[in-house]
């Protein structure tokens, strides 16, 4: 599979008039493959959200270039195509819902793209069904829970039939059920529709569900690999202000005590198996 998004030696800083601002990204190169599910981690201010905004031309780099499906984001003629292909979902669902009825909100994107009405109808229904919100299509968005609103926001993106969805901390404001539902929806879109997903999060238990984890620190890539590769780098992660999953921490502690526990344990189910393998069943 080819590269869908490619950052080539990108340097970016936010321009503030009359001020010398630091570089958020410096000589930064990365590529995201079609159909991949990538989690992006890093402490606040490390450049994660900037990365997201550069992907669909909300911001443009001062040096280097970004290609989306081969199109340069700096070329104004490409911007509409790029934004149709790369959809964004942000942290606060209340800031992204524009209409007073759920299905109108989902139709907003395709309407702006000039999609024909009959086709919009079809896309809206399909998108709402895919996120499990079809039964709520006539609801007023403010009567939904946070997780439901976030799924409506995702449906609004899907209705534009993008190749890629970038989610910037979509679960930060949600309750446990809302977090689970959003995660399930995103995984399904990636698995069943082949949509490329870039998932920015502070939750390690969400990141372990991706195929690839990228850890950013001070505008650079600190780690890049499978969840198992990345989360076994306990020290590097902690130095970068992040955590390793609790199950991984416990496995490391037990190993230090001399117990034969695999070091690449990522969740409580794996830890359960490792521990019960060492103790005779009662």
């Amino acid at each position: 599979m080819g590269n869908f998004i490619e950052f080539q030696n990108v340097t970016f800083r936010y321009e503030v008039e009359g001020e010398e601002t630091p570089e958020t990204l410096r000589d930064f190169s990365i590529s995201f493959q079609k159909g991949d599910f990538v989690a992006v981690l890093g402490h606040n201010g490390c450049g994660k959200s900037t990365l997201a905004k550069l992907c669909n031309a909300i911001e443009l780099p001062q040096r280097g270039r970004i290609l989306v499906n081969g199109l340069d984001t700096a070329d104004e003629e490409n911007v509409l195509t790029i934004r149709q292909q790369v959809g964004m979902v942000f942290q606060n669902p209340d800031n992204q819902i524009v209409a007073t009825i759920v299905e109108d909100d989902v139709a907003f994107g395709p309407e702006n793209l000039g999609v024909l009405p009959a086709e919009i109808r079809q896309r809206v229904d399909d998108a709402l069904k895919s996120v499990g919100m079809y039964d709520f299509r006539f609801f007023e968005p403010h009567k939904l829970s946070g997780g439901q609103k976030q799924r409506v926001a995702i449906a609004g993106i899907i209705a534009m039939q993008p190749e890629c969805i970038i989610l910037d901390e979509p679960t930060a404001m949600l309750d446990p059920q809302g977090r689970k539902d959003v995660m399930k929806t995103v995984k399904m879109l990636n698995r069943d529709f082949g949509i490329t997903v870039i998932f920015i999060t502070h939750y390690m238990d969400e990141a372990v569900q991706a195929n690839r984890v990228v850890v950013m620190n001070e505008g650079k890539i600190l780690l890049d690999g499978t969840p198992k590769d990345v989360f076994t780098q306990t020290k590097l992660l902690e130095d970068a202000g992040l955590e390793v999953p609790q199950a991984t921490q416990l496995a490391a502690l037990l190993r230090a005590d001399g117990y034969d526990v695999p070091k690449d344990i990522l969740d409580m189910d794996e830890l359960y198996d490792a521990v019960t393998a060492l103790v005779p069943h009662p």
Binding site: H43, G45, M173, H202, M204, L242, E243, L250, M268, V279
Partner: protein
């Protein structure tokens, strides 16, 4: 038992009461909070948590029931309601959006100034609370807008602490922060509580945060108070919590599963340290008590 500082009796709030679209946001809530305790408040989105805390300092008035602060109905004298807001400090979600002054010093001092305190007293309080939130005096002259997200959040919380409330209510104080920022906020809440002895109510969606900080948990479900008990008792209702859209800490789940499968382990485990000890006990063969 310690003394009750804040209490609600049959507190009920109906929005748009008397109309066809009436919604009961909180329904017959009777609960007592003790002096000097930390209580975690959990509940699904829309369960009524925010409406409940807005009653505690008189931002909302119940359609039924009373709120008692030190045994007195907060609405007994309407003119005194402002004083209640100094005694019960509520810090809402994303409080950093409410920063507005030119300097950190003025922003934190805004509450005490409204209380009519002297300049010296305001200066003293500002410096004290700055310490509570882990910032030093060099921040006083800075613009709050030049700070990082986590620092802004801490300045906003300090602004509430500066009123020296007897009850501090924090609504999702760690939402949106990275792990380091989250740990810092939780540590400072713990330190603040120890040093001031005041009561803290912490609203959170993170079962881990609540388990690590609170001694009791207040669970709201569909406008009603579902449980109000110790951390151990509340988290022993794992199945019921799940049907309410909530959860128990992940680490606790491991021990629940071990127990279900016949291993003799304690299920009241909420931290990595406690889990490590309990797993060692199991592995060393001490589990067959």
């Amino acid at each position: 038992m310690e003394s009750i500082i804040l209490e609600t009796r049959h507190l009920t709030h109906t929005y748009a009461g008397g109309t066809s679209s009436a919604v009961t946001a909180i329904d017959d809530i009777s609960a007592a909070f003790y002096s000097g305790e930390i209580v975690g408040i959990i509940g699904h989105t829309g369960s009524g948590k925010s409406t409940f805390i807005e009653h505690l300092n008189g931002l909302l008035k119940g359609s039924n029931g009373v709120v008692l602060l030190e045994g007195k109905d907060i609405w007994a004298n309407k003119k005194e309601i402002r004083k209640v807001r100094f005694k019960v400090g509520v810090c809402f979600q994303y409080p950093e959006y409410q920063l507005f002054e030119e300097t950190v010093e003025k922003d934190i001092g805004f509450g005490p100034k409204n209380m009519g305190l002297s300049e010296e007293e305001i200066a003293r309080r500002v410096r004290t609370v700055l310490g509570y939130v882990g910032l030093n005096d060099s921040y006083l002259s800075k613009s709050p807008f030049d700070l990082s997200g986590g620092e802004k959040r801490r300045v906003a919380i300090a602004g509430i602490m500066a009123m020296e409330p007897q009850v501090l209510v924090l609504d999702e104080p760690s939402a949106g922060l990275d792990p380091r920022g989250r740990t810092k906020i939780l540590d400072l809440v713990r330190t603040y509580q120890k040093q001031t002895g005041c009561t803290v109510l912490l609203v959170s969606h993170s079962m881990e945060d609540v388990a690590g900080l609170a001694s009791r948990i207040f669970v709201m479900n569909k406008a009603k108070l579902a449980y109000f008990d110790t951390v151990a008792v509340v988290f022993s209702h794992a199945k019921a919590l799940e049907t309410m859209g909530l959860d128990i800490p992940q680490i606790t789940k491991l021990f629940e599963r071990l127990k279900e499968n016949g291993y003799d382990v304690d299920t009241g485990i909420y931290s990595v340290d406690a889990a490590h000890k309990e797993l060692l006990r199991l592995l060393e063969g001490g589990a067959r008590r």
